[in-house]
């Protein structure tokens, strides 16, 4: 359902009306200086359509109260809408039940929850945690903190020159000390789509649970956690046309039930006395305190919006943009793509001979073009390719081929300035 199928249907099925879609995004009408905004930093955060903005306004103007606490009308409406949003997330990733979906503040928060709730309970001295070179810092640092605390060991899956995981090396890393795998679904720095399904199956043969960081996958392809059979899946709403400050953790219910709560407080308890507190059942056990209710509802609305466009259509259209951008930049002398995996999302990470990425980013900004420059919170990837940083154009389904053309003209202009 994920990469292979999408690649096959790409040419036939690009039924996206981009011009109409663009009118849904008010921010795309913005000018930067005297140039129209060309927003190619979607991997960092995606823009929000009017439908989601309207949903937030509707909630805040007619439905807001605290949830799970009072019997009055608004509290009941807010609680219902909040739980409806959870249900939308459940459907979106095809979890078995709503209670397998925990609202968090984002990908980083979700990973830390698993580290605290699962890792601190089950990982012991000498145990091994497998991560990959492609991980975002948010799926490295929490595990390093845990390894430091417990005396556990981190093992790293290498990548090849195209930016693809070395699967043979991955399989060789397993032994009877292996207790956890943290795996990025799609690389934010390079766009590589990893074969997570077979990697999860392999880990399960060794009885090892797997967390998938889906921050860059969920916005760009249909994700089915049952089909993947992952143990945990995490992503943020803001990379998927939703608000910041909200994200999700999917966990198999048996695992979530076995875990310790990460935070203590209101809403996560069944009963409290000074002698003993009984925790609430999942998902509430992991949602202490008042959550970002509006953001969660906006998250649900963002999923509605994406589904109205169609995840398959989004994947196919973005692949077309990627092919176009890849071919275009290959025609520019002195430009080199970093990350040339066979299966990629629409991420174009590149370097220009003799020109530092920060200079590229600043000059492109003069043309209204927003790209990200730097290490993209993936320093091990930069190290692997022996570059201090790259420039990264990351596309969304509202970008167009003429924006790709503008990027290429911008790159040529940078080269001219530095000639």
């Amino acid at each position: 359902m994920i990469n292979a199928d999408v690649a096959m249907t790409s040419e036939a099925d690009t039924t996206i009306n981009v011009e109409k879609i663009r009118t849904d995004f008010p921010i795309l009408k913005l000018n930067v200086g005297d140039k129209p905004l060309i927003y190619l930093d979607n991997a960092a955060s995606c823009q929000m359509p009017q439908q989601v903005i309207d949903r937030l306004v509707h909630y805040q103007t007619t439905q807001h109260a605290n949830i799970n606490r009072a019997v009055h009308y608004l509290s009941e409406v807010a609680t219902m809408e909040y739980e409806k949003a959870r249900h939308r997330v459940q459907q979106f990733v095809n979890a078995r039940e709503d209670r397998e979906i925990i609202f968090t503040s984002g990908t980083t928060d979700s990973i830390n929850l698993v580290m605290q709730g699962y890792g601190r309970k089950f990982i012991k001295a000498g145990d091994e945690i497998i991560l990959t070179t492609l991980e975002h810092h948010s799926n490295i640092v929490p595990w390093q903190m845990l390894a430091e605390e417990k005396g556990a060991v981190i093992r790293v899956v290498p990548i090849n020159d195209a930016g693809e995981l070395d699967i043979e090396a991955y399989e060789k890393l397993f032994n009877d000390r292996t207790k956890f795998v943290g795996l990025i679904h799609v690389s934010n720095a390079l766009g590589t789509i990893n074969p997570v399904k077979s990697m999860i199956a392999f880990a399960h043969q060794h009885g090892v649970p797997v967390l998938i960081d889906g921050a860059q996958a969920a916005p760009h392809m249909a994700v089915d956690v049952q089909d993947l059979d992952c143990d945990f899946y995490v992503f943020s709403a803001h990379k998927l046309c939703g608000p910041t400050g909200i994200g999700m953790l999917y966990g198999k219910s048996s695992l979530l039930e076995s875990m310790e709560p990460f935070k203590g407080g209101g809403d996560m308890i069944a009963s409290v006395t000074f002698e003993k507190t009984t925790y609430a059942a999942i998902p509430h056990k992991f949602e202490a305190g008042t959550p970002p209710i509006a953001a969660a509802i906006g998250f649900g609305a963002a999923i509605d919006y994406l589904c109205s466009v169609g995840m398959e259509q989004i994947a196919a259209y973005e692949l077309e943009l990627l092919h176009y951008a890849t071919e275009s930049i290959q025609g520019i002398k002195g430009a080199r793509i970093i990350g040339t995996a066979a299966h990629k999302t629409a991420v174009l990470s590149f370097v220009l001979d003799g020109i530092h990425p920060h200079d590229i980013g600043t000059i492109l900004n003069e043309d209204g073009i927003a790209v990200r420059t730097g290490h993209h919170c993936a320093q091990p990837v930069m190290e692997r390719f022996k570059v201090p940083a790259t420039s990264r154009a990351s596309f969304a389904f509202y970008n167009t081929k003429s924006e790709v053309d503008a990027l290429m003209a911008g790159i040529r202009n940078v080269q001219k300035i530095f000639l």
Binding site: H358, D359, G374, I417
Partner: protein, 160 residues
């Protein structure tokens, strides 16, 4: 924002043909500056004799803004006393962070081509790194980072 004024010919020229680029055999003062956020690394060496910067050289890997800033800095402080260099360091930092009123008398001269950097908070550190490193060398600190907490020249957070 007007970044056009940043990539002016002076800056591009110093980037292409940096002055005082290289190493010194036996420097009396030396420091390495590092910006971990963008991987920039700058090595600055000085020969100070009779309270005067006799020789200065730099090398390293960085963006054009950082390199041009280093090049122009070395040209500006050569022949000056460490005290005068510190005055310039201070003025440059104040200019880059938008705290200096350029209408008031200062010693910056052509270095004011960098004044536009104040509108680009993520690039301020690129321009300041060489000055920062010079300050460390003059004060016998061998290595500095733009990200350390006790950094007296701490600028706005850079882009990751």
């Amino acid at each position: 924002m007007n970044t056009k004024s940043l990539y002016q010919e002076v800056i591009l020229d110093h980037n292409r043909k940096p002055r005082n680029y290289g190493k010194l055999e036996h420097p009396s003062h030396h420091a390495v500056g590092h910006n971990p956020l963008c991987g920039d690394r700058l090595d600055i060496a000085l020969q100070i004799e009779n309270n005067q910067i006799d020789q200065i050289a730099f090398h390293g890997e960085s963006c054009a803004i950082c390199k041009a800033s280093a090049s122009m800095m070395t040209a500006a402080v050569k022949g000056k006393s460490p005290t005068d260099a510190e005055i310039l360091i201070n003025e440059f930092r104040e200019m880059a962070t938008g705290k200096l009123d350029l209408n008031n008398p200062n010693h910056l001269g052509r270095l004011t081509v960098f004044s536009g950097i104040r509108d680009l908070p993520t690039r301020v550190k690129c321009a300041i790194l060489p000055w920062h490193t010079l300050h460390a060398a003059l004060n016998a600190v061998s290595s500095v980072s733009t990200e350390s907490d006790n950094d007296p020249m701490h600028a706005a957070p850079g882009s990751g």
